[in-house]
């Protein structure tokens, strides 16, 4: 029952948003749905583990963890979106038209309605992804998230947004088609696609076919997760989408793909090919770190820089899982810290765009003078994302590094330290240049409300609190989850 509510509530809300004539109520539906979704999530996680529909839907502790992160993030984003749309209603560019719709649905009103509906459908499909236990259903939901998020990226319309959307659509679809191949191979080798059943099965699965399936899954869902070298859609999509959509993409969608890989990793561990999977995970993790480091240095677009930072952190998470031991705990802890910190940074990036009207790092100076609140939060966000104590990311990165050294993966440890150092240098240069200096003339400064500051501040408090004090219930949860994943 709770499954149906969690998935169908945002769908119903999407229908309402699409059909509602009043813009004010349409905007209010977004945070309203966010609140309801969070309430339902809290109710659901008290009852874990929950299994339904013959095992096709499952809410186990791992899923509950990811669901809570996504729900909290969506609430903050929907609040920001409500405040954003109140002040900046959509103005259609001159040549925008939608050929598959009739002319009477023209205009700004229907565009915002479509966007709001797509946003809520996105929430619904991501919820379905997290709760899918049947890998076939997982695939369908994953493809559905691509479909639901495509109009979100295209919100501002125009040439660059179109390019970003086309790349996103094509690259992610090809990736997911390869994951479908993995699904078929797994099904023929194992006879069943229920993830929890496969993860606890004691009869052997043909190792060769399973390894092939794992490779296809890794490339396929890794595309959605933003792993290098399948990451090329990520910087474009994140820089062209509205800021709060980027926050949702980075903080929730990448996590959903990561969850898929974690479920498959469990199956691999039980089937005895754990070493093979770990090695693959480590390779892709380090490769993502490498790409991220090289593209963050000298980056001029702050949203693109944040996108490459997402690639870096996803690489770190995968690396931690691949290292095993304490690093798995670190990776799981890293997931929530990264989601909230990245969400906060992207929302602040949205504010910066409103104030300065440009995404160029060179043209943004004197943030502390222009808007002290944004400036301070921006600096705090920078400290959090590069892994400074006392923010939570420091502890997770430290655990991963420690585990690499403890397991004699010295090359990986050195690479990790060097690349993280490069990223720190690149981001420090950018962030400090942006906050200090003299404020330029801002004739086109758009107004933003205090409501635009509260969601990022609220999101920023969470990794700080997690870094300072993690309640014992959460520590035991992480240990339990890590044990499932070979930690």
């Amino acid at each position: 029952m709770i499954f149906a509510l969690l998935i169908l509530l945002p769908v119903a809300a999407a229908a309402i948003v699409y059909l509602l004539p009043s813009p004010r109520w349409r905007r209010r539906m977004l945070p309203l749905t966010g609140l309801l979704h969070l309430g339902l999530t809290i109710t659901a996680i008290r009852q874990t583990p929950l299994r339904s529909a013959g095992g096709w839907l499952l809410l186990d502790p791992l899923g509950a963890y990811f669901l809570t992160i996504m729900s909290i993030l969506f609430l903050a984003i929907s609040w920001y979106a409500w405040s954003y749309f109140r002040r900046q209603p959509y103005h259609a560019p001159n040549d925008a038209h939608d050929p598959f719709h009739h002319p009477q649905e023209h205009g700004a009103r229907s565009h915002e309605a479509q966007f709001g509906a797509a946003l809520l459908l996105f929430l619904s499909t991501m919820t379905l992804v997290i709760m899918s236990n049947h890998l076939g259903l997982f695939w369908i939901a994953m493809e559905a998230t691509t479909l639901a998020s495509t109009p979100l990226i295209y919100y501002y319309q125009g040439k660059t947004a179109l390019e970003a959307m086309w790349k996103y659509l094509l690259i992610c679809s090809v990736g997911i088609a390869l994951a479908l191949l993995g699904n078929l191979i797994l099904q023929s080798a194992a006879g069943s696609l229920l993830a929890d059943e496969l993860a606890t099965r004691h009869t052997a699965i043909n190792a060769q076919w399973l390894k092939l399936a794992v490779v296809f899954f890794l490339v396929g869902y890794g595309t959605k997760m933003g792993l290098a070298p399948m990451h090329s859609w990520l910087p474009d999509a994140h820089s062209e989408a509205p800021a709060f959509v980027s926050a949702l993409l980075s903080g929730a969608l990448l996590n959903c793909a990561c969850l898929g890989l974690l479920r498959i990793y469990r199956i691999g561990l039980t089937a005895g090919i754990g070493d093979y999977c770990s090695e693959l995970f480590r390779c892709f993790g380090v490769l993502s770190l490498l790409f991220a480091a090289f593209f963050i240095l000298g980056q001029n677009d702050f949203k693109r820089m944040l996108a490459y930072s997402s690639i870096e952190h996803m690489g770190l998470i995968l690396l931690g899982i691949g290292l095993g031991g304490e690093a798995v705990y670190g990776s799981l802890f890293h997931v929530c810290n990264h989601s909230f910190t990245k969400g906060m940074l992207f929302l602040l990036a949205g504010n910066l765009l409103l104030i300065y009207g440009t995404r160029s790092i060179h043209q943004v100076t004197g943030l502390l003078q222009t808007s002290a609140a944004n400036g301070i939060l921006w600096l705090l966000g920078f400290l959090a994302i590069v892994g400074m104590p006392p923010f939570g990311l420091f502890y997770s990165e430290l655990l991963i590094l420690k585990s690499a050294l403890a397991q004699h993966h010295y090359v990986i440890a050195v690479l990790m330290a060097v690349l993280l150092g490069m990223i720190f240098a690149g981001m420090a240069g950018a962030f400090l240049k942006m906050t200090q200096g003299n404020a330029p003339e801002l004739p086109h400064r758009k107004r933003y409300a205090t409501w635009n500051l509260l969601p990022p501040a609220a999101l920023g408090v969470l990794p700080l609190a997690a870094g300072l004090y993690l309640p014992p219930s959460l520590t035991t949860l992480f240990k339990q989850l890590a044990a499932q994943l070979g930690g």
Binding site: D95, H97, D98, P99, F100, H134, G136, L137, W139, I140, E143, A144, T146, L147, T150, Y154, Q157, G158, K159, T160, L162, E163, A164, M165, W166, K167, L169, L170, S173, V174, A177, L178, L180, L181, L184, I185, Q187, S188, G191, L193, N206, Q208, W209, L212, P235, D236, S239, E240, F295, G298, Q299, N300, R304, H362
Partner: protein
């Protein structure tokens, strides 16, 4: 008799792949993909393998695949083609003759690859190479063509290849999952068609090679 028909269909599929990789007229490519869709839908019926599904399930799935991949999606693409007014592909990154030659090499590669995979009992030895070859052809179209619509056709071929692979593996499948996958693909191509429209109206062409403003260059 049934297995003869089956082998014939596989050979037809291989030929269609070769034809599509050397074709420059888009209407021709769409027709090829349509025939491919019909064959992909009909193929499970020609196999004698147990799929664990009742009779009506197999027939309804075949009907759904033929309808969507063989009729509806090609019609949609033809509609887009008419509205966007392109008839020929612009000169692709790999010329048509070279594409055809590469396609033949890929066929050989697919046969070799299929030999290295663990053997499956009771499967026509041509089934797996055909599936892998269709996959490769789809990828070739995706990466070597410029027009957005041709990339969509390449993606459709990729999906057909994946379907064929599943059939060649004798993977038992659920009707609901297969129908869900079909639905997803249908909506996906629909959205891609809308995107092609927007590309045409924004750029006055649909040459995706011109979509290159977003990149990391030295600033």
């Amino acid at each position: 008799m049934q297995s003869d028909l089956y082998t014939l269909s596989l050979v037809l599929l291989i030929l269609i792949n070769l034809l599509t990789s050397g074709a420059s007229r888009l209407r021709y490519c769409i027709n090829c993909v349509a025939v491919q869709g019909i064959l992909v839908g009909a193929l499970p019926l020609l196999q004698n393998s147990p799929t664990g599904m009742p009779e009506y399930g197999e027939w309804s799935l075949a009907a759904a695949v033929i309808l969507i991949k063989g009729i509806l999606l090609p019609l949609l693409l033809l509609h887009v083609l008419r509205r966007v007014e392109i008839n020929r592909e612009v000169e692709p990154f790999i010329s048509y003759n070279l594409s055809l030659a590469i396609s033949a090499i890929l066929l050989a590669a697919a046969v070799l690859l299929a030999r290295h995979l663990p053997p499956i009992t009771g499967v026509n030895p041509l089934a797996l190479p055909t599936a892998i070859f269709t996959l490769f052809t789809g990828l070739l179209m995706l990466i070597s063509r410029r027009k957005a619509l041709t990339q969509v056709i390449g993606f459709l071929m990729l999906e057909n290849g994946v379907f064929l692979f599943g059939g060649a593996l004798h993977a038992p499948y659920d009707l609901i999952v297969e129908l869900g996958v079909l639905l997803d693909i249908f909506v996906l191509i629909f959205i891609m068609s809308i995107a092609v429209f927007h590309i045409r109206s924004e750029f006055n062409h649909s040459d995706t090679d011109q979509l290159n403003t977003l990149a990391d260059r030295d600033n």
